[in-house]
Symmetry: D3
Subunit: 254 residues, 6 copies
């Protein structure tokens, strides 16, 4: 269930097991991918997982018969992205404000009895902040909610090692889901200006706080390595992982 | 220009006159209209205005020849909506967090030289908070930005008096732009449970802080009074008003 | 009962129905009216209303026999007035601090069993912030209090349309209550430098965030249109409206 | 100059040397003295000092010939008084909010070129918070202001040792300045229920955080020891001390 | 019991009566005493008091037979010391952050059933902030804790009058406990550059907010007046006073 | 240079290249290791690195000849450790307060010209928060400082995979540096109650927010696998890594 498309009476009448809050970012993704990449990808994975989870409910066998619905909320569009501030169009908020916005928005859900929440994230810069949100939400004495944070590109098996930024994984997923938004004619330019690796490392520490310190055009990794077929594989992997997480969250004693 | 669909290089190469930040809400809109109504409507009006503004740039005559682009950012999806907390699926954040989130997200724009911002709002509960954001943003010594807040249903001439909540205006606009999201078969139910007026007034003061105090199903006003034709009129009125505002913001000495 | 003049034992022994917190501002009111205008006017209306409310308790008939007292607290002297910062002597705090100060001060009252509070405001710049304070106060899980905000010049019937700033209404009320503080010899100067209207409007939006953008001497409206007789009418109208509100607040189920 | 009674043009045309911000409290002062005692006393001392300072400017001799005016702002009416929360009618805000309110209100003054501020305090519970405000204000990189905090009953020579609460000093000053507000007929009761000393001390530490822990009726010290004559002496002592401080603040290099 | 040296099982198995949180500062102490002086001294006094308190438990007589342990936590190393910012190596945090850090750290203790806390302070600049922390902690509805703040050099009888800064008292205590950290060869220099008194006083008010305004080398008072013998006396006086306070805190009804 | 042992004149006269702020925690480390483990280990590594760095300055060859000193500040003793709240003696502060305390304390250093700071961390729960502190510090427009965060057990090569909690690595380091604080007689108990792995993982997400959910006695990993010899290896590895980082921080253009 897309929450934004439902009416309040639909939500009242549904049996919602978990809410999924897609969390994105509006930030540079090289010359070939749109600023909204992270939000689009977070939504794609969230919706795929919800469909997988709900489909399992119709299966004839097993414990899934009594599965309810997954409510996918509207995505959070602006995140912790100051590291890309050198690139035009990038938007960001402070981590403090981001945490408050996500946490409070999520806390509306237990107020309606939806007390399990998964934050489905599409942006590396949000990872730390969302982990903190999930912990604080889960310990909040003001409601009974429990939350965990999931980041799609950490849940794609061996592909995860290729992550980068606007690189093979993100580009692939976008090509599979929103091909019209990928500028195919700029891929050569994108790969040429790309960095091999995120950051500038000494003794296990990244010395660079901003992406412009190590990438000329904002890209890390080779986006040409991510075609639509790979994107479909990634969507399935990430969607299945998130669906598995949703089931585990429902079954877990809190 | 939809900012989320553009690449950072597109933004760098464009001549952006003003950014428009649609501001919505995820909140009950009766049994017939979706929780995302305010966000959808804010985006519709923002995009209509951007198109009108940019179209004028192509006209042969007058000062508009040198008009640049309008960057429409992703919408802010959760607002100040605690007044609807009694109705399922409604999401909200505190006014403090809302103000911080909108203001900081908007402040990313002058960092890239886009220093005029219009907050294009679709939710009554956001009005006060956005007025404050616009003032603080415009006085912020940390950047040169200037902002004002616009609420579409205040800029539709005589129609404004029919506003309500999930009533004729919001329903009409949605029917014109997203008819598949309006539950036509629940309109009778919607009008029957509706209140005539927002609030409970004594001596010019509304005594009711929450909508459930005066409306049984969340509706105020008669949604049946808002058909798609009226919606098209509203879209044109609001879009033209916002386009006029954009032009005034560009021309104004700050 | 003026709270500041009472002893704590007086308060303990009284039967206080509602507390009224006058909220003012210290800000420019043109060359003819004092910086303290808004505070003085808020107190005048609050005290008039308390007297009216308490007088009704002595009437022979009806439900008012069991009326208690109204506790009028000391006025809040500095408000949200940064819009007048260009004019000497104007004082202001941020909206955040203003809201916190008013809300916390008011929250002392339910701690003593006075759980109905009306914020009686005299300054336009405080309106939005006080509405938010009243809502948050009323939803606060830490006490049982209920609050609403009232602004005197919105409750004077047809006169309300003449509001302005340091214009006919504020000047009139002051002439009726504190004539020694109105500089009669500067009225001509005041009206000459006055603006006709508050703000600079396009498409229903005020583009001006500071008053100096549209008024040379800080005045909006013609103060000469406000003599002491009109002031007495305004005081009665506003006082009666507030007294009516106090009664409604007492009678209302919360 | 009472700032609230002046017009903005009066302030513009005056030569203000220092602003004095009286800081009071609305809190229990026993059965005999009003809740507003601290505010009234702070204002009395501030106005006495301003008069003394300005009078010196008219003297024929010495460096005082070029003295300007003292602007006495409206008093801050609610302070740090949670320690009296057990007694009806007491109002308080948190120290955080109090500090912000006083500091921001004071920071309006350097915005108009009045960059020396003395916080003239009448309440013991405010002392620590005001010291912090003065330091932070003076170090604020956003303006050139300098501030110090003064508490009248610490500047009355040997009398200071009799302070208490609602005891001899406060009662005396009030009898000298606002005799109508002192309930003479409750003085016997006041002294009978009074504590000898503020707090409950072990090893130099006060174990009691709230006044109700050591005083039955809120009084500390014998109010009967404070007649109007003593009050006049106190007013002169405190007013002279504050005037001396004002002169020192003006002459000091910052 | 030094909490940092204990295991969690040790704490679980102990019968802790009170926790003592030493609070220090890292700030200039003249050319002869280390930046860590206040922290070292706070720890010395805390440990002396804990030993004294626990020793009394072994005595044959009286109510002390059932005494439990004192848990001395790690010291808070950075405090409110901006007043020394002109001197190299001085570290500080804002009072807001200091209060939050001490209060929250202390609030961990009642979560484990240790609900009496004494803040044992070694720095004058922390005094006001710790008093506020103790009050707020004790009134916190989220736990049952009670706290008071103690400053060692206020509890050394007649010696207290010699306090200064890096002067006789602090130097003496350090010589008794950490003689290797006192630069004996710089004592002459220290006394020569020292001020006689802390601050610059007019009418009972200190006009100086920073120590560099009145001391050239950071010293106030004559450090040569503080030998190790005096240090041992001070340690005993302060340690006994704090032990007495601990006993009183345990016995007090809260 | 241990900052706390130095005088302000020592710091003034030294040529400090970088400040290292050890950041620890006071939290359960099983039945065998002390609550202060993380702080002790952070200090050990910081001091080893400072010694290594400074020793290199004395070498005959290369660019290190002009190396200055490393100032090791006092350790931050309480961190983000709410996840261990179920175990006695654990202390923690909120992430917000922790970040503010570390960041502000560190910001004192550029005020004295020490504008490179390394946060040398000993606790896993602090990692995310310190990364954020380092970024914000480095972007702070109020000073020229640059900071990075280092966590010792992430910089010990292949050993890093054995981390756990109170397991082989932490126990080994402690045995090498503070053997008296390791309870050898409880090691068998420690290993028996230990978990194999930190957390409870599904789809790459840890479902457990608190350590008690997966470890009975607080231990993760086998502490017996960490003898003093291994501890010495770890100290050298981590110390060398940090020294390398210090050199890189000094040489890097910011």
């Amino acid at each position: 269930m897309r929450l934004a498309d439902a009416t309040w009476t639909d939500v009242r009448d549904a049996d919602v097991d978990v809410a999924v809050v897609p969390v994105g970012s509006t930030e540079q993704h090289g010359p070939h991918a749109p600023l909204g990449t992270d939000t689009l990808n977070a939504v794609s994975v969230a919706e795929a997982a919800a469909a997988t989870y709900e489909r399992a409910a119709g299966a004839d066998d097993g414990p899934s018969d009594d599965r309810g619905a997954i409510a996918v909320t509207p995505p959070i569009p602006v995140g912790v992205a100051e590291e890309h501030r050198a690139f035009d169009g990038t938007m960001w908020v402070t981590p403090d404000t981001f945490r408050a916005y996500v946490r409070e928005a999520a806390a509306s859900l237990p107020a309606h009895g939806i007390d399990r929440v998964v934050l489905a994230n599409g942006h590396g810069g949000n990872v730390e902040a969302l982990a903190e949100v999930a912990r604080r939400f889960s310990r909040d004495p003001d409601h009974d909610g429990y939350a965990v944070a999931f980041t799609w590109f950490e849940a794609v098996g061996e592909h995860a090692g290729d992550m980068g930024h606007a690189g093979p994984l993100e580009t692939a997923l976008l090509r599979a889901t929103h091909p019209e938004l990928v500028r195919e004619d700029r891929l050569a330019e994108a790969r040429e200006g790309a960095a091999d690796r995120w950051g500038e490392w000494v003794a296990g520490v990244n010395l660079a706080h901003d992406s412009e310190e190590f990438t000329a055009n904002g890209v890390v990794g080779d986006p040409a390595e991510g075609d639509a077929d790979r994107g479909r594989v990634l969507l399935e992997l990430a969607g299945d992982a998130l669906a598995e997480l949703l089931a585990a969250v429902v079954e877990r004693e809190r």
